[in-house]
Amino acid sequence: MKPVTFLFVVVSLALAAGCAPAQPAARTSLVVFAASSLTEAITELEQVFEAQNPGVDVQLNFANSNTLAEQIAQGAPADVFASAALAFMTRLEENGQVDARETRIFARNQMSVILPKSNPANLTSLSDLARPGVKLVLGAREGPQGAYVERLLTNLSAAPGFDPEFKQQVYHNVVSYESTVKGVVTKVALGEADAGIAYVTDAKSDADTLTTLPIPPEYNLVADYPIAPLKDAPNRAMAQALVEFILSPAGQQILAKYGFLPPGE
């Protein structure tokens, strides 16, 4: 093909693309970046919201909150951010990408010790986690959940009936730090690890393969989940509508179904 002919073809293709008629009833797309622990709950919320708002196409992107906040800070196009910890929302507020007055706590979560149903290490109480030889899988220590786990273990080390060295002993039993909490759940559900520490909601979502060890509420931690529309969301009105829907009784009911606690007053 001669260069001139080639140029002609390229230009006409570009023109054709530009002139193509808009798709009938253009769908508004709304991009939601959500912490991976929200996967099941937000997916159902998405379906209900889309059913109520025909013409809106909600697209979900799940990863750990740290990664999501980093991606948004680097300019990833998102309309709504739902984080598993306040720190990452604060980072975007300081970055000028989220209006602090628009940040709302929409759910809360707690830690849960999960075991495969077969309970291969025969664990019966939390203190068994420190027993030598138990294979534990935890979330990355640097992630938000890793920080909660560390505080939980610190609390338990100071609790009556626990060895003061409990925390060190538990960390000594770790065979892998997974990059997401979902990774912890999968490894435990497959029976590869004897136990893991995940969110209450994770234990609930895999109830047929997992059991749990109860954590006394006075030592457990409450993780606040904040949500906010982004300041330069391409579709701010719809982004705000989605946040309102998630905070509404209908939205809260769906979150409760997956084990989330309502936001504290």
Partner: protein, 284 residues
């Protein structure tokens, strides 16, 4: 190989023929210009790592215990993997080269499969097979062996993804050995083992060496299968690529320093590879 040699010779002659006067060679300049974007895409990111990483940061990151552990672990596991690939891969290459049996095409495809599979698939498959609850893993557990989350898992993952590179190269090397040479040796009374040991092995040294280097480079870079099958624990299963991934989220300098090392080592391997191949082409 002889084919390659002919092509190389031909292109050399053509190149000589194509340099008559001092007339500017517009045709070739245009090609160079057109190739520049592609080459820059390779060059810029690699260069960016070294631009971003100051020498002092590089040295400081290398004293970080997580980085030191990752380098040590990568070195030991990759050498063990390479040794096992040579030991177990050579017979596989021989079987592939012989092309015997009706199911040969099946073996051929099987050996190529890991090269085209995403490493994540390899990781899931290995976990399902050799995990505690896996098909083979359950049996191993009866005799007290558990593989996931151990150095053995790291080695298995590395072998799974990298061995095909060696096997393929060695099989091609065996196939390129002149049949008459083998027949002549056999006529002179060499046993089949002697033919293999004294004719085939030395004559396919170059593809065997280049195949091992490619496999080693691939082993050093293995990430997806390792993090799924072997997990991530500093000092036990956290190899350099895993430390880079985890480090990217909390300690960028360590991630950069380890990336720089991997780039340097891989480049060195590739340069050595070209030396081996060139010597082979110019030699016999």
């Amino acid at each position: 190989m002889s084919n390659n040699l002919e092509i190389a010779l031909q292109s050399k002659q053509l190149r000589r023929a194509g340099q008559p006067g001092s007339k500017p060679d517009w045709f070739n300049r245009l090609w160079t210009l057109a190739a520049a974007p592609m080459l820059l895409l390779f060059f810029i990111p690699v260069a960016a790592i070294f631009l971003r990483l100051s020498p002092t940061d590089f040295v400081r990151s290398l004293t970080d215990p997580a980085a030191v552990q990752a380098v040590q672990l990568s070195l030991t596991t990759s050498l063990v993997s390479l040794g096992l690939i040579l030991l177990l891969g050579t017979p596989a290459a021989y079987v592939l080269y012989r092309r015997r049996g009706r199911l040969h095409w099946l073996l051929d495809t099987l050996v190529d499969l890991p090269t085209v599979l995403p490493p994540a698939v390899a990781g899931v498959a290995l976990l399902i097979a050799f995990g505690r609850e896996g098909v083979v893993g359950q049996a191993l557990r009866q005799v007290g062996i558990t593989i996931p989350f151990t150095g053995a898992a790291v080695v298995l993952a590395q072998m799974f993804v990298a061995a095909p590179l060696y096997i393929r190269s060695a099989a091609l090397g065996f196939a390129a050995v002149d049949c008459e040479l083998k027949q002549a040796a056999a006529l002179d009374g060499a046993s089949r083992w002697q033919v293999f040991r004294y004719i085939m092995l030395p004559m396919s040294a170059a593809p065997i060496i280049s195949g091992s280097m490619m496999a080693w480079a691939r082993v050093l870079g293995e990430f997806g299968a390792t993090i799924i099958f072997a997990g991530n624990l500093a000092g036990r299963t956290q190899t350099m690529p895993l430390a880079i991934y985890i480090g990217f989220e909390n300690n960028l300098n360590v991630a950069l320093a380890l990336s720089a090392i991997l780039i340097l080592v891989s480049s060195l391997l590739l340069v050595l590879l070209k030396v081996v191949i060139n010597r082979r082409l110019n030699g016999d």
